[in-house]
C-alpha cells in the first residue's frame, strides 16, 4: 500500500545515539529531519545498557533526554518500527522507500496506558531484559521507550481478543497491514548501528548451549538498575555468583569467525561491568581473560588501572569453554602465558562472553551505502572526512562505519551533521 511522499531536508537512518545526535544537530540548524528506526522505540543499544564508561553515568540518564529532545523537536519527525526498503538517487537528493511494519495497534489512537499489556494472558521471554524476564504478547517495549505505543508480537499472540476488549481507545487492530511510503530528502545520515557477533558460530565458547555462559549485553541487563532480577544472579539457578569471568575478544580479532578486526569497546565494557559487579557482588572474584587491554580513550587507562587496583584479576589468556562443572559452574581451559605457559583449568560460576560488533543489518540486507571488506559502511577519506561515504550527499555516523564507543560515536554524529548541513547549503 502506498501512502504518499513525505519531504524532508535530511533523512537519518537509525534512532540510536548516533542517529539522535545527528538529527538533533541538524534540527538545531533549522533543517527538517526524518528519523527512521527499525525498532519500536528509539534509543538504540545505548538505552539498553546499564551504566557507561568511563564516567559510570547511568545509560538511561544520558540517553532519555536525547530521546525526549528528538521526540519533541519541532524539526524532527520520528518514524519508528519502519524498515528501509531502498535508498536511491533522486536528482541531487535521495528517495527512500520505507515500510511501516504493522504494530497491530493504531499509533494515532494508542495512549500508552498499558491496559492491553495487563490484560494479555501470554508471557513471552523478553529480549529487552536479556531473555531473563517475561513480557506480554502485546507490550510497550520498555519503560522509557519512545514512543509509548504498544505493539503485538504476532508470533506469540493467540488472538484471544482480551487486549482489544480492554483498550479504552479502540486502538487494537489485528488486521493492520504494512504500509509503504516514500521519504524524499536532500541528504541522509546512516546511523544503523551494530549487532553483536553471534555466539552460535563459536563452538569453543559453547555455541550458546552451556548454561551460565551469557553475553555482555545480557550482563548489562543484569546490572541495570531496572533489570530483570534487580540484582546479579546466575540465570540457571538464581545463585549469587562467587566468581565471574570475562572472555575478551569472543568473536573479535578472530579469523575463525570471519571477524579479524578489534571491536574497540569490549575491553572497556568488560572492565566497566567488572567494576559494577564488584559493587553489587563485593565478595565475588572477577577475572578478565584478555589478549591486549585496549583502554585508549580519555580517562580509560586510568579506569583500567583503578579496576586492577580494586582487585579485578586480569589474566592474559585466550580460554576455551570446556563444559559445565558439577555445581552449575562453567569450566574453562587456557594457557597461562604469565605463569610458565602451563595449561590451567578453571571454573567460574558465571562466564560472560565479550562479544564483538558487527554491522547492524539483517542477514542479506543491503547496506545504504557501499561497505568495506569488514561489512561496515566504507569511508573513503577517513583522515579528513570521517563521516563522508562513497555516495554523494550520504553521510555516516557511529558504529555503522566501524565499532566505536559512545564518546567517539557522538563526535562522529556531530561531524556527520556538519557534513550534511554543508551539503544542504551547497
Amino acid at each position: 500500500m502506498e501512502s504518499g511522499v513525505k519531504k524532508f531536508d535530511a533523512l537519518v537512518l537509525g534512532g540510536g545515539i548516533a542517529g539522535l545526535e545527528a538529527a538533533l544537530n541538524l534540527a538545531e540548524l533549522n533543517f527538517s529531519v526524518a528519523v527512521v528506526e527499525k525498532d519500536a522505540s528509539i534509543g538504540g543499544k545505548m538505552i539498553r545498557l546499564s551504566k557507561v564508561f568511563p564516567t559510570l553515568d547511568c545509560a538511561s540518564c544520558i540517553t532519555t533526554p536525547k530521546m525526549a529532545a528528538a521526540a519533541h523537536h519541532n524539526n524532527i519527525t520520528l518514524f519508528t518500527y519502519c524498515d528501509l526498503v531502498s535508498l536511491s538517487r533522486n536528482g541531487r537528493g535521495l528517495r527512500a522507500q520505507i515500510r511501516q511494519k504493522p504494530r497491530y495497534v493504531d499509533a494515532d489512537k494508542c495512549i500508552g496506558c498499558r491496559q492491553c499489556e495487563y490484560a494479555c494472558p501470554v508471557y513471552v521471554s523478553d529480549p529487552e531484559q536479556g531473555d531473563f524476564a517475561a513480557r506480554k504478547a502485546v507490550y510497550i517495549p520498555f519503560s522509557n521507550a519512545i514512543p509509548q505505543i504498544a505493539l503485538i508480537d504476532t508470533q506469540n499472540c493467540m488472538l484471544c481478543g482480551k487486549c482489544e476488549k480492554v483498550c479504552p481507545t479502540g486502538a487494537v487492530d489485528y488486521l493492520q497491514a504494512p504500509q509503504d511510503f516514500t521519504i524524499e530528502s536532500k541528504t541522509a545520515v546512516i546511523a544503523t548501528g551494530f549487532d553483536v557477533t553471534p555466539v552460535e558460530n563459536k563452538p569453543l565458547y559453547g555455541a550458546g548451549k552451556i548454561p551460565n555462559v551469557i553475553t555482555a549485553l545480557q550482563m548489562e541487563r543484569l546490572l541495570a538498575p531496572h533489570g530483570p532480577y534487580n540484582r546479579v544472579l546466575r540465570p540457571s539457578d538464581g545463585k549469587l555468583p562467587d566468581s565471574v569471568a570475562y572472555i575478551q575478544c569472543a568473536g573479535s580479532r578472530d579469523q575463525t569467525t570471519g571477524i579479524p578486526y578489534c571491536s574497540r569497546v569490549c575491553c572497556m565494557y568488560a572492565i566497566k561491568q567488572a567494576m559494577l559487579l564488584s559493587g553489587s557482588l563485593p565478595l565475588a572474584d572477577i577475572t578478565i581473560y584478555y589478549i591486549d587491554i585496549r583502554a585508549f580513550g580519555k580517562g580509560y587507562e586510568q579506569f583500567y588501572q583503578n579496576a586492577a587496583a580494586m582487585g579485578i584479576q586480569f589474566v592474559k589468556a585466550k580460554p576455551v569453554i570446556v563444559g559445565s562443572g558439577e555445581g552449575g559452574g562453567v569450566v574453562l581451559r587456557y594457557e597461562a602465558q604469565e605463569d610458565g605457559g602451563r595449561i590451567v583449568t578453571a571454573e567460574h560460576d558465571l562466564v560472560v562472553l565479550s562479544l564483538g560488533l558487527v554491522p547492524g543489518r539483517a542477514p542479506g540486507e543491503r547496506a545504504a551505502a557501499p561497505t568495506g571488506p569488514d561489512g561496515f559502511i566504507a569511508v573513503p577519506r577517513p583522515r579528513t572526512a570521517p563521516a563522508v561515504t562513497e555516495v554523494e550527499g550520504v553521510f555516516v555516523a557511529g558504529t555503522a562505519c566501524g565499532p566505536k564507543d559512545i564518546v567517539d560515536t557522538i563526535a562522529e554524529a556531530g561531524a556527520a551533521a556538519m557534513e550534511a548541513s554543508n551539503y544542504l547549503r551547497e
Binding site: 544537530n25 538545531e28 540548524l29 533549522n30 557507561v52 564516567t55 553515568d57 547511568c58 538511561s60 540518564c61 532519555t64 533526554p65 525526549a68 529532545a69 519533541h72 519503560s143 522509557n144 519512545i146 509509548q148 538498575p225 531496572h226 580479532r253 579479524p260 578486526y261 578489534c262 591486549d292 585496549r294 583502554a295 585508549f296 580513550g297 580519555k298 580517562g299 587507562e301 586510568q302 588501572q305 602465558q337 604469565e338 610458565g340 605457559g341 568495506g372 569488514d374 561496515f376 569511508v379 577517513p382 583522515r383 579528513t384 570521517p386 566501524g402 559512545i406 564518546v407 567517539d408 557522538i410 563526535a411 562522529e412 561531524a415 551533521a417 556538519m418 548541513s421 547549503r425 551547497e426
Partner: protein
C-alpha cells in the same frame, strides 16, 4: 510546635496561591534502592502548598516528563520541583518540559537526591535527607517568579585557535556555513603536528597531501582569515560577543622557521608545503603588531606536543642512537630508498628496537614523576599504530633491517589498525611484551658484535625469558602531552583535567563544549586522537558553533543580579565586591529630582555569583532565581522537623 510549623509554611500568603508539583525520580534503582520513594512522597504530600506529588522510574524519560506537563497544562501545579540526579544533568531537560507545556521554565527547582543522597547515604538516613532536600526545594519553588532569559545578539564570527588539522577542519566547516572565521596560529605554518609525520596511520595517506588539501581550502576561502605567528593576549566579553586581543610577532627562533631557511633562502610561497613544517600561510612580520577581533565563538584546537623523554630514560640523550618516534620518522623520510638495509647518516641500521608507552600509561610508584610531580597516566592512543606502521615500512622497504617492538598492550583499536598489526607480524616484526614493573633496559653494547646498543627485556610472551636484542637504533614511541595553554586557561578560566588536557563539560552530553559558554574545543587539546578523530571532533565542535551563530542570538539564563532602585543608596559596596569586571557599576541617576549614585547591572557580564548581594548593607541587591528570601525559606524548611513530627514523642501538646 506543630502549629508554628504550619504557620511557617503558610507565611507570606504563598500557600493557596502557588501550587507546587513535586516529581520524585527512582532513577531506575539508583535512587529508589536506597531512598524509600513511597515514604518520601507520603511526607512531601503534607507540605502545605504542595498540590501534586508524583513519582516515576525515570523522570527524564518521556512518560516522566509527561507527568509534569500534564499538571502544568491542567493547572494542578504552577511551580515544579523534580527530585532526581544532579541539576547539571537534567535541569535543562525539565525546564524544557515546562516550556513545552506552556509554563515559564524558571518556575522550576531541582532537588538532587542521587549524588547528594542515594549515592552517599543508605537506609532511613537517606530517606530523611531526601525529604529535607525536597522540602527545601519546595519552599524555594513557592517563592519563584517567572523570569525571561537574557537574549544577546551573537556575532556571526568564529575564532579558531590553532592551525593544525582540527583547527583547519573546523574553520572550513564554519566558513561553509557562512560564518566568518579567524584562525590564530603561533607558527608561520598550517598543519600542526601532522606536518611532522610522513604517512598517516593506518591507511598510509601522505601527511603532506592531507595538510595541503585542508590548508589550501583555508587559504583560498574568502571568509577565513589566517593570522600566523599570533597569540591571544587579552580576552573579554561573553558568548556571542567576545573581544580578543591578538599579538603578532616576527617568527621566533625555534625549529621549523629556521629550517625552512628564512635567512638563507627566499621565504616559501604562500600555500607551499614545507616538509616537517607545514603549509606556509604567507607573509610574516618583521615588526610586531597588535589588534583585536570581535567574535561570537572561540574554538580551541591548540593541539599537543610529543612527550620529551627525560635524559637517561631508555638511554635517551645518553647514548647516540636513541631517538623518539617523531625524530625517527623524519630520519626515515630523509633516508635513501634502495638497498636491503636501512642507512641513516651513512650508518647501516641492521636492527631497530622500538619501545612503546614512553611517557604514556605511567603508573604512580613505578614511573618517575617529572619536576612538577606529574605523571602521564593516560594512554596516548595513537602511538601503537604509528609505531607499527613505521616498523612495517622498515621491514618492507629494507628487508635486512630487523625490528623488535617492546610493548605492554598493542592497542590497534581502529578500523584498519588490527590489519596493520597482522601485517607487521607477517613482515616479521618481532614482538616482545614487558611488564611496567620490569621495563626494557637499553645499554651500550660491550661485545664486539657490530651493534652499538642493546635492548634487554624479560619477555612475557615467552614466559619471562630474558631476551637481549642487539640493535643499532632505539626508537621511543613518545606519547602526547597537551600544548601549554596556561595563559589562555588563566585568562578564560578554562577547566583542565588531572591529565592536563582541557576538560569538556561532559564526555557524552556536551563533549565539545567547555564550561565557559561560547568556548568550544576540538582535537588533541582535549585528549589524544588521531587525525581522523581530530577531524570528527572539529566538525562536531563546528556544528555546535554553527547552531549558535546561525540563530544570530544567544539566550542566557536570567540568574543575574538585580538592583532594587528604591532601596539602593549607592554605597558602591557591591561594585567593590563584584567578581566580574563590567558587571556592576555606579551610575548617576535622578532620585526625587536630585542627582544620586545607584548601582546598575550589566546582565550580559553578570555571572550571578551573589557576591554583591552578600555585601549590600541595604539588602537592595538580589540574584534573580536565588533571592535572599528564597534562601531563607529553604533554610527554614531544611531544619524544620515538621514533616517528621509523628515519629517523635509529643513532649507537650503545643
Amino acid at each position: 510546635m506543630i502549629m508554628a510549623g504550619e504557620n511557617e509554611y503558610g507565611k507570606e500568603g504563598a500557600a493557596g496561591r502557588r501550587k507546587v508539583g513535586v516529581y520524585v525520580c527512582h532513577c531506575g534503582g539508583n535512587i529508589s534502592d536506597h531512598v524509600d520513594v513511597g515514604e518520601v512522597c507520603r511526607r512531601i504530600e503534607k507540605i502545605p502548598g504542595v498540590t501534586s506529588v508524583q513519582n516515576n522510574v525515570f523522570m527524564c524519560s518521556d512518560p516522566g516528563q509527561e507527568l509534569i506537563m500534564k499538571d502544568i497544562r491542567s493547572g494542578a501545579a504552577d511551580r515544579v520541583v523534580v527530585a532526581s540526579c544532579a541539576p547539571n544533568l537534567h535541569e535543562a531537560t525539565f525546564r524544557n518540559a515546562i516550556s513545552r507545556a506552556g509554563g515559564n521554565p524558571y518556575i522550576y527547582e531541582h532537588a538532587n537526591i542521587r549524588e547528594q543522597v542515594s549515592w552517599v547515604h543508605h537506609g532511613a538516613a537517606a530517606t530523611e535527607k531526601a525529604i529535607r532536600l525536597i522540602a527545601a526545594a519546595a519552599a524555594k519553588a513557592e517563592r519563584l517568579e517567572p523570569l525571561t532569559p537574557i537574549r544577546l545578539e551573537a556575532l556571526r564570527h568564529a575564532t579558531v585557535v590553532g592551525g593544525g588539522i582540527a583547527g583547519l577542519k573546523a574553520a572550513i566547516d564554519l566558513a561553509k556555513r557562512g560564518v566568518e572565521v579567524a584562525i590564530i596560529e603561533t607558527s608561520p605554518f598550517l598543519g600542526g603536528r601532522a606536518a611532522q609525520l610522513d604517512r598517516l596511520a593506518p591507511s598510509g595517506e601522505s601527511a603532506a597531501q592531507v595538510i595541503s588539501e585542508l590548508a589550501g581550502r583555508v587559504l583560498n576561502h574568502k571568509s577565513i582569515t589566517v593570522h600566523t605567528c599570533a597569540r591571544i593576549r587579552t580576552y573579554q566579553g561573553y558568548i556571542g560577543n567576545f573581544r580578543i586581543g591578538i599579538g603578532r610577532e616576527a617568527p621566533g627562533g625555534s625549529g621549523e622557521w629556521n629550517e625552512s631557511g628564512k635567512k638563507d633562502k627566499p621565504a616559501p610561497a604562500r600555500g607551499e608545503f614545507v616538509p616537517f613544517a607545514g603549509v606556509y600561510a604567507g607573509e610574516v612580520l618583521e615588526i610586531p603588531e597588535e589588534f583585536s577581533i570581535d567574535t561570537g565563538i572561540i574554538l580551541l584546537a591548540t593541539g599537543f606536543k610529543p612527550y620529551e623523554p627525560r635524559r637517561g630514560e631508555y638511554g635517551y640523550k645518553e647514548f647516540e642512537g636513541v631517538v623518539t618516534l617523531p625524530e625517527f620518522i623524519k630520519m626515515l623520510a630523509l633516508a635513501g630508498r634502495g638497498g636491503d638495509t636501512l642507512e641513516i647518516g651513512g650508518r647501516q641500521i641492521k636492527s631497530v628496537a622500538m619501545i612503546h608507552c614512553v611517557g604514556s600509561r605511567m603508573i604512580p610508584g613505578i614511573h618517575e614523576e617529572d619536576e612538577n610531580g606529574r605523571l602521564n597516566e593516560y594512554c596516548s592512543r595513537t602511538c601503537c599504530t604509528a609505531t607499527l606502521q613505521t616498523a612495517t615500512t622498515i621491514r618492507k622497504t629494507w628487508p635486512r633491517t630487523n625490528v623488535f617492538e617492546f610493548y605492554r598492550d598493542i592497542r590497534t583499536y581502529g578500523r584498519g589498525q588490527e590489519e596493520l598489526y597482522a601485517e607487521a607480524a607477517r613482515a616479521s616484526v618481532m614482538f616482545l611484551r614487558f611488564d611496567p614493573e620490569e621495563p626494557p633496559v637499553v645499554g651500550k653494547s660491550e661485545d664486539n658484535d657490530g651493534y652499538a646498543l642493546y635492548a634487554r627485556v624479560k619477555d612475557k610472551l615467552t614466559f619471562g625469558e630474558e631476551i637481549l636484542a642487539p640493535v643499532d637504533l632505539v626508537v621511543l614511541s613518545a606519547g602526547m602531552e597537551p600544548n601549554d595553554v596556561s595563559d589562555m586557561v588563566a585568562m578564560m578560566k578554562l577547566p583542565v583535567g588531572a591529565d592536563r588536557f582541557l576538560q569538556e563539560v561532559h564526555p557524552k552530553l556536551r563533549p565539545v563544549e567547555l564550561s565557559v559558554a561560547g568556548i568550544l574545543l576540538a582535537g588533541t587539546c582535549q585528549a589524544p586522537m588521531d587525525t581522523g578523530e581530530a577531524c570528527a571532533a572539529a566538525s562536531a565542535a563546528a556544528v555546535k558553533a554553527s547552531a549558535v551563530l546561525s540563530r544570530g542570538y544567544v539566550e542566557l539564563d536570567p540568574f543575574v543580579a538585580e538592583v532594587d532602585g528604591d532601596k539602593c543608596r549607592g554605597t558602591g559596596a557591591c561594585v567593590q565586591a563584584c567578581l566580574k569586571e563590567g558587571a556592576l557599576e555606579l551610575v548617576e541617576t535622578l532620585d526625587g529630582g536630585e542627582k544620586a549614585l545607584r548601582a546598575q547591572v550589566n546582565a550580559a557580564f553578570c555571572i550571578g555569583c551573589g557576591a554583591c548581594a552578600a555585601v549590600c548593607p541595604e539588602g537592595a541587591i538580589n540574584v534573580k532565581g536565588w533571592t535572599l528570601n528564597q534562601y531563607e525559606a529553604m533554610l527554614d524548611a531544611i531544619v524544620s522537623d515538621d514533616l517528621f513530627e509523628e515519629e517523635r514523642p509529643h513532649a507537650t501538646a503545643g
